[in-house]
């Protein structure tokens, strides 16, 4: 089953007279229960791809179908609805509301989706339990560690049962131990059938995914399915000039 279908996606930013083409025609299909890492150096267009994947932005041209719904030409409110129902965001800097408790933060997507109070509470609490934060529900973000904050964010991303969890450098702001915990949680979710798309420039992290999509200069230069372990290849990540496949290293 195809969860995401992208055809000839182009994105052009024009600031005054200068036009920058961030995506030059991307074709991408992601099926249900895939764990995909999107990698690429900064400026490669991976953030733009993430914005379009997450329906935060619309492509200049091309076709994007998410969960059977064509996203092109929708207005802001319709896009908001699609984000609410189909996309669960996990950000590098967590992006929790600082004044709200963990439970209230997790409730937010349900609130925007119009879920009644009681059901909202129950579902949010259940989701916090699932990420092992049952005892931290009434804590504010400032009273939580980085790893705990990211767990709250993941609970928030999952609470509306989205088609896809879209994670942007989810371990970027975490120490190694906490990062490992989060990665472990992602693997657990994947094992339970959740589709995950992770944007990262950390090849070590990307290798844990079952599929790696590499972006460079606005194009997909590598799309490698399967979770076969790859040898560490710093050139692939840091060089940027070398479009050689990651798997060519060993």
């Amino acid at each position: 089953m195809t969860m995401i279908r992208m055809r000839a996606i182009r994105k052009v930013y024009s600031t005054g007279r200068v036009e920058v083409t961030a995506l030059k025609g991307v074709d991408l299909d992601i099926g249900g229960n895939e764990y995909v890492a999107v990698v690429g150096p900064s400026g490669s267009g991976k953030s733009t791809l993430m914005n379009i994947l997450g329906c935060l932005d619309t492509p200049t041209s091309g076709e994007y179908v998410l969960s059977g719904e064509s996203v092109g030409g929708l207005d802001r409110n319709r896009l908001a609805e699609i984000r609410n129902r189909h996309v669960g965001f996990v950000f590098q800097n967590f992006n929790l509301l600082p004044y709200a408790t963990a439970l209230e933060n997790v409730e937010l997507p349900l609130l925007f989706g119009g879920v009644p109070t009681r059901e909202r509470r129950e579902r949010a609490a259940a989701m916090l339990e699932r990420v092992d934060l049952a005892d931290r529900m009434d804590h504010k973000p400032t009273e939580l560690s980085g790893g705990q904050m990211q767990r709250v964010a993941i609970a928030r991303a999952l609470v509306n049962r989205p088609a896809m969890v879209l994670a942007d450098e989810p371990t970027g702001n975490l120490d190694t131990a906490s990062g490992k915990g989060i990665v472990g949680l992602f693997e657990e979710l994947h094992a339970a059938g959740q589709t995950i798309v992770m944007i990262t420039h950390d090849m070590g992290l990307a290798r844990l995914a079952s599929r790696i999509v590499q972006i460079r200069d606005g194009e997909v230069v590598l799309d490698q399915g399967g979770a076969a372990p790859h040898s560490p290849g710093p050139p692939a990540r840091s060089a940027g000039v070398n479009p050689a496949p990651l798997a060519a290293a060993p």
Partner: protein
């Protein structure tokens, strides 16, 4: 269901704001309250002043005309110009009968003479008039007294109606109805004392210092005296011009002067003055209202400014909410609601405080003519409506524009906002 959840969300966000930004909210509410206080007080003072102007400009009488003898300025029917025109008491009777546009009319004799009560003698103006004069010139008796009546005229009674200050000068008090006073060495019975009133226009001095006796009595005491003037009132303000023209026509025929020669009789038409004072009062009120509105707008701009800052400060939060699926109105509503709630609280607070101040000021005894003319501040429904309207406009604008800005931010951009 959805709407209720949204309202709950908006309310929740507002509560968060109140709890976390107490100082900001308090200061904003204070700004609005202060603006409201200014506009309500200014408009209330304007209203009070208008009322006292209204009373004052009618203190001498409402819509009346006063007619004095004059002199012709053009030759007419073989008679030269510069000829004096003098009328008699009979002429006043003639006008009463001949001009239906005139509702009431009274002759007025006047001279200065000595008044004595006990050992105290005061030199004051005494005038001889007819009963209509009281109504015409607003001489209202204090409780327990009365003005002149037809019998006083018919029987040439020796009765006197005193101005309240004259009464105080003579007796040291005002409740002197029934006392006796000597007018030009003749004994008179005091039948009433005038109620205090504000006069913004007058001839031959304020009414509070004058004694009023029946015209017939006056004529009997000073037999060679001719009327100083007469006072009339048209049936309505619109009939005033017609009544005036008729007076010139009737008297012109009798005394052979050109009815177009307006200097042959001096007529003071007080309608004109009332129109002018009315306009001045309105102008002052408008001026105060504009100052008040500007003050309120400054407060409103403060609120708008703060709201803009809040939107900027919370750009990332807005981006997060949008990423989580908040619709445009779900992003805008908390800001509009916040501004409106602050405006309502500030407005109610300001109005309550100003009403308290107005009540306090109204309870204070006012001494001195300037303060009397300023009047007591008066809160009117028009003021309440104007204040509510301006506050509502400010509250909506102060909330709407920053909120629209908030919702116009692209989520992908606002998420990156530091």
């Amino acid at each position: 269901m959805l709407a209720r959840a949204e309202v709950a969300l908006v309310w929740k966000l507002f509560q968060h704001d109140v709890a976390h930004q107490r100082k900001r909210i308090a200061l904003t509410v204070l700004a609005i309250a202060w603006g409201t206080l200014s506009i309500v007080l200014l408009l209330s003072f304007g209203e009070g002043m208008k009322l006292s102007f209204h009373r004052g400009s009618r203190g001498m009488g409402e819509g009346i005309g006063v007619v004095w003898p004059g002199a012709t300025t053009r030759a007419f029917m073989g008679l030269p110009s510069g000829r004096p025109v003098r009328f008699t008491e009979e002429d006043v009777g003639l006008l009463r009968v001949r001009i239906p546009e005139i509702e009431a009319i009274s002759v007025e004799y006047s001279r200065r003479t000595g008044l004595t009560a006990g050992t105290k003698t005061v030199n004051a103006r005494v005038r001889g008039v007819e009963p209509e004069f009281g109504e015409l010139r607003n001489l209202i008796p204090q409780p327990g007294g009365r003005f002149l009546n037809e019998l006083d005229i018919a029987e040439k009674r020796r009765v006197v109606f005193l101005g309240e200050e004259l009464a105080r000068d003579l007796f040291g008090r005002e409740d002197v109805a029934g006392e006796t006073v000597l007018v030009n060495q003749s004994s008179f019975l005091v039948i009433g004392v005038m109620q205090t009133k504000i006069m913004m226009g007058m001839y031959s001095g304020p009414d509070k210092n004058q004694a009023t006796i029946p015209a017939t009595t006056f004529k009997a005491m000073w037999t060679d005296e001719r009327p100083d003037n007469f006072v009339y009132k048209p049936g309505s303000l619109e009939l005033g011009d017609q009544a005036k023209a008729e007076i010139y026509r009737v008297l012109g025929r009798k005394y052979h002067f050109d009815p177009e020669d307006t200097r042959s009789l001096g007529i003071w038409d007080t309608r004109e003055n009332q129109r002018i004072t009315g306009n001045i009062a309105l102008g002052i009120q408008l001026f105060l209202g504009i100052i008040g509105a500007l003050t309120l707008f400054v407060g409103g701009m403060g609120v708008a400014n703060i709201m803009y800052a809040v939107v900027k400060e919370r750009t990332r939060e807005i981006g997060v909410k949008m990423a989580l699926g908040a619709k445009v109105r779900q992003v805008m509503a908390p800001f509009v609601m916040e501004a409106l709630v602050m405006t309502v609280i500030g407005g109610v607070l300001g109005t309550a405080v100003s009403l308290g101040l107005i009540t306090l000021l109204a309870a204070l005894p006012l001494e001195g003519e300037a303060l009397q003319l300023l009047g007591t501040p008066t809160f009117s429904p028009a003021i309440a409506a104007a204040t509510a309207l301006i506050l509502g406009a400010i509250g909506t604008a102060a909330g709407y524009f920053p909120a629209r800005r908030a919702a116009s931010i692209h989520p992908a951009v606002s998420l990156r906002y530091e």
